[in-house]
Amino acid sequence: MEVVRQPAGGELRARQLRARDMLRGDLEGADLDRFVEERVMTTTLERAVNWASSNSLFPLTFGLACCAIEMMSIVASRLDAARFGSEAWRASPRQADLIILSGRVSIKMAPIVRRIYDQMLEPKWAIAMGACSSSQGVFNNYAVVPADKFMPVDLHVPGCPPRPEALMHGILKLRTMIQENPELGWRARYHAEGTTELAPAQARAEGEPPGAQGEPARGASGENAGA
């Protein structure tokens, strides 16, 4: 759904007066019908929500490696992600709805990334930024895991690192995706719907295979640290 702004032109004053009359209750009959036809747009609630959420993405402040520096550039003055409503970066995954995997994900980091993704509330989206998190990039070795292996990714941005413009293009593509058709089918195909964080005992009770979604990273998480 795209909101088209029409130039107001000289009609503006007349429209303002009509709106004032409407608020006063002075408009009646055909005038009122015309007013409603001009001003009221009908849509479904779902589409309105998609329009709103696509224009207010809250990315997670989560940097991994080189791409994180370029990711920081999109909030800076040249690109200014605030123009598209994603200037409110959130440090807590529970307040964010977009995770940008900016850099190489090592085997040690992968369970933590998955856990952070699971902690995000639906609806949530993931962008794999750069070659490393999409396909391991130049590091085709024992240490790096592509993001698709352990979490659902909505969009890949190629580059090593991608230019900030490329990431911005990716975010705008994601915006279009959210607005037009959030159900792309692949989530159902990969059972990537509604991933949530489960306690290990809970995950076992629900018959999860070990190491699958919801299994928090042992020894790498906050809860074990205090012990």
Partner: protein, 419 residues
């Protein structure tokens, strides 16, 4: 020390309400000292990457701290063993991702030393120009993100504005913003384009005034001063014991800088100063880096003034690719080109350690060659990794809020720490 500064005393002397007095009545029932172990990271915006810290707190005071690294381990050193010498450069560049020219420099320098190769003076000067631009860029990112951690968001916009103009220069000379692969074994990959020198000059002319503006924002800001001064002091002796180098060591007054101590890449041709601090607190570290921004612009201007004419890469056809036009006329050039592209250059057996002064300290690369076209071992001494050792000493018995300021000023790059 930090915990007893005048500011802290005043802060602690404030009593809020009678409620607190009543809380004190029950204080005797509670254990006197309860330690809390807090996990910070690996996902935490203040750790500048994926560093994980186990902090033992007594109230708000940090009693012990243990950094846990390895969350960004990429296996770069091992990958290097599997690549021909000239294909190692892009891999090793991605290590410390704010100092990519320095990463390329240490590796190329080590290989060139093993080859006993003479580098043309023009290539050396071009390397100096790019490395110093890189140092400015790295310090700008440090300044912007550190100020962000201290709560000054406007610094972030200013620093990233200047960073973009440095990256534009990199893009002009090499076509890439980051990880440019501009340095080549034997020189640089291409001569600078027309108009590059003028744009660098314009940048160098504007930069000192920008640094003045940054200082005008930060250096008279009471909050910044209170959060930096007398915080995180470690003695010079202790830093030397831990092997700390770079601005952290220079902040204590030790003028150790490899550009002066062991000049490489014709740094002895330039007239510049090594800024040092006196106390070794966070404020000195901040001031040393700010002064380095100014000194770097001076070096770049001198390098542009004295930029020698001549080849930008060595004429040794066993090491560097022949120019394109020779391929059409010379059979020999074609053979050299074929051998270099298919197999790469061969390096005589031996080992070498080549250090340079990166924005964070001594960055060194150890290369062992077994005579083949691939290195037998590549090891990198990364300053971020070594400097991080001093972090527990800096923050012990200080406030946890000061710990955030200290790690910002410490400037570890986790890509370099974990490699």
């Amino acid at each position: 020390m930090s915990a007893t500064s005048e500011y802290r005393r005043r802060e602690q002397s404030i009593t809020l309400s009678p409620l607190e007095d009543r809380a004190d009545e029950h204080a005797a029932d509670r254990p006197e000292q309860e330690l809390l172990t807090l996990n910070m990271g690996p996902h935490h915006p203040a750790t500048h990457g994926v560093l994980r810290l186990l902090v033992t707190l007594e109230g708000e005071v940090v009693r012990e701290l243990e950094p846990i690294v390895g969350y960004l381990h990429t296996g770069i050193e091992k990958t290097c063993e599997d690549k021909a010498y000239w294909k190692v450069i892009p891999v090793i560049e991605r290590m410390d991702y704010l100092a990519y020219y320095f990463n390329a420099m240490v590796f190329c320098g080590a290989v060139e030393s093993l080859l006993d190769l003479e580098i043309p003076p023009r290539a050396q000067y071009l390397r100096v120009i790019h490395m110093e631009l890189n140092r400015i860029m790295s310090h700008l990112v440090w300044l912007g993100t550190s100020a962000l951690d201290l709560g000054a968001i406007s610094m972030f916009w200013y620093c990233f504005r200047e960073r973009e103009s440095v990256l534009d220069l990199f893009e002009m000379s090499s076509g890439q913003r980051m990880h440019t692969r501009y340095f080549q074994v034997g020189g640089v990959i291409e001569d600078i384009p027309l108009g590059f020198a003028e744009r660098v000059r314009a940048f160098c002319a504007a930069m000192p005034a920008r640094v003045d503006q940054y200082e005008a924002i930060l250096d008279r800001n009471e909050i910044v001063l209170q959060r930096l001064r007398q915080i995180g002091i470690v003695s010079e002796r202790r830093l030397l014991e831990l092997g700390v180098t770079g601005p952290l060591l220079r902040a204590t007054g030790n003028p150790w800088d490899l550009r002066k101590a062991a000049p490489y890449c014709s740094y002895d041709h330039f007239d510049f100063k090594i800024p040092v601090g006196t106390v070794g607190d966070n404020y000195d570290r901040f001031r040393v880096r700010m002064a380095e921004l100014r000194e770097s612009t001076k070096i770049i201007e001198q390098a542009l003034d004295g930029l020698p004419e001549g080849p930008f890469i060595t004429n040794d056809r066993k090491v560097a690719l022949p120019p394109r036009h020779e391929l059409a006329t010379s059979m020999e050039a074609l053979i050299h080109h074929f051998k270099l592209v298919t197999e790469g250059l061969r390096v005589p057996p031996g080992e070498f350690y080549y250090p340079v002064e990166s924005p964070r300290g001594e960055l060194g690369c150890f290369v062992r060659s077994d005579g083949s076209a691939k290195p037998a071992r590549v090891h990198v001494r990364d300053p971020s990794f070594v400097n991080l050792q001093a972090f527990p000493d800096m923050v012990r018995d200080g406030y946890i809020a000061d710990m955030i300021a200290t790690i910002a000023v410490l400037d570890p790059i986790l890509g370099g720490v974990d490699r």
